[in-house]
Amino acid sequence: MSKPLIREVPPTSWYFRHPRYLRYMAREITSLFIGAYCVFLVFAMHSLAAGPSSYEAFLLTLRSPASIAFHVLALVAALYHAATWFNATQKAMPIQLGEEFVPGNLISGAHYLAWAVLSIAILFLAGVF
């Protein structure tokens, strides 16, 4: 009657077992905000296409406290998502030059640099500067 014991993994609460799993879930949940912001942008384009009065009304709703809170949350989520992604690039894309591997910090750093340059370029095109 010798029978191995199977210790089941709780399918809906496994991520409470260790802080590293919570950090992982935090990264996953950021995608909800990214997705929600994409939907928001579709609405923005829709109101723009519907004419000036519709767009003015849309701009007014942007100033509501709920909209500002959503934007702050979406920004924090996007920054966390981007940072964890860039930090992971050195694992996914190691570069070997001759015998040695390029230090991981350089690979992640190059991504941060490209991020900064592209962000400045977009802000420039948007007329912020």
Partner: protein
């Protein structure tokens, strides 16, 4: 030699008499610089000879003594008592069937290792008279990190994907497949890709990264798996989007 009093709460399971596991608490005196394995050995020698666990080398080389120590997959010979306060909870490796006390059944892992063909498959037959396969230091370094695996299975115990989806081939086996795929002397990548680029293979990985955090020899399986994902994606693009299948 300075001693310290250590309290351990050890998961006990006897397959002949128990239907569930229970914790048993022990208190032993161990050298200050001792490890959890020393405490278990002391318990077995002086308090409870029925306690079961695996170990062999006591120097983090053989990979036999992996267990959950305060919820973290660790080699018990590498878990220093001085790093723990209060009662130390010792459980068998997560995600594997428990045979008895801290002894788990590694059969699933061994089967998965076999499936990824973890050995050199030459590109073409070569008679011994033609001499050895030469390799530059750079070619060696390309895969060397992934040769260090000691098959301790800590990465499987840390991987929530493996716990939730046991068919997942898992971190160590895929890393080892990647090690041979990167080897300049090898020609067996196509055969391994059939296994590791499948749904049960690397695409089951969601990059939690826990495997690399717990690996006692710094193989960095998470890195290997992400590299396999990129290489497999490039294969797919070549096969489906380039004229002539990219050949």
């Amino acid at each position: 030699m300075k001693e310290r009093l250590v309290q351990l709460e050890v998961l006990r399971y006897n397959p002949d008499t128990d239907t569930t596991a229970h914790f048993q608490r022990y208190e032993v005196s161990c050298p200050e610089e001792g490890v959890v394995l020393d405490a278990l050995n002391k318990i077995k020698e002086t308090i409870d000879p029925t306690l079961n666990y695996r170990w062999s080398c006591h120097m983090a080389v053989c990979g036999s003594c992996g267990m959950m120590i305060n919820g973290e997959p660790k080699l018990s010979c590498h878990a220093f008592l001085r790093e723990y306060d209060g009662v130390i909870r010792v459980e068998p490796l997560a995600h594997f069937p428990v045979e008895r006390d801290l002894v788990t059944a590694p059969d699933d892992f061994i089967e998965k290792l076999k499936r990824v063909k973890p050995y050199l498959i030459p590109k073409a037959p070569k008679p011994i008279s033609e001499g050895e396969y030469l390799q530059t230091p750079a070619q060696l370094k390309k895969y060397h990190r992934f040769t260090l695996c000691i098959n301790c299975m800590l990465c499987y115990a840390a991987c929530p994907e493996y716990g939730l989806t046991p068919k997942f081939i898992g971190p160590a086996a895929i890393s080892l497949a990647h090690r041979y795929n990167l080897d300049s002397r090898d020609g067996g990548r196509d055969a391994r890709q059939e296994v590791i680029a499948s749904k049960e293979g690397v695409w089951e990985c969601t990059f939690v990264g826990a495997c690399s955090e717990v690996c006692p020899v710094h193989v960095d399986p998470a890195s290997a798996l992400q590299q396999v994902k990129i290489a497999s994606s490039i294969d797919w693009i070549k096969e489906h989007l380039l004229p002539g299948g990219g050949k």
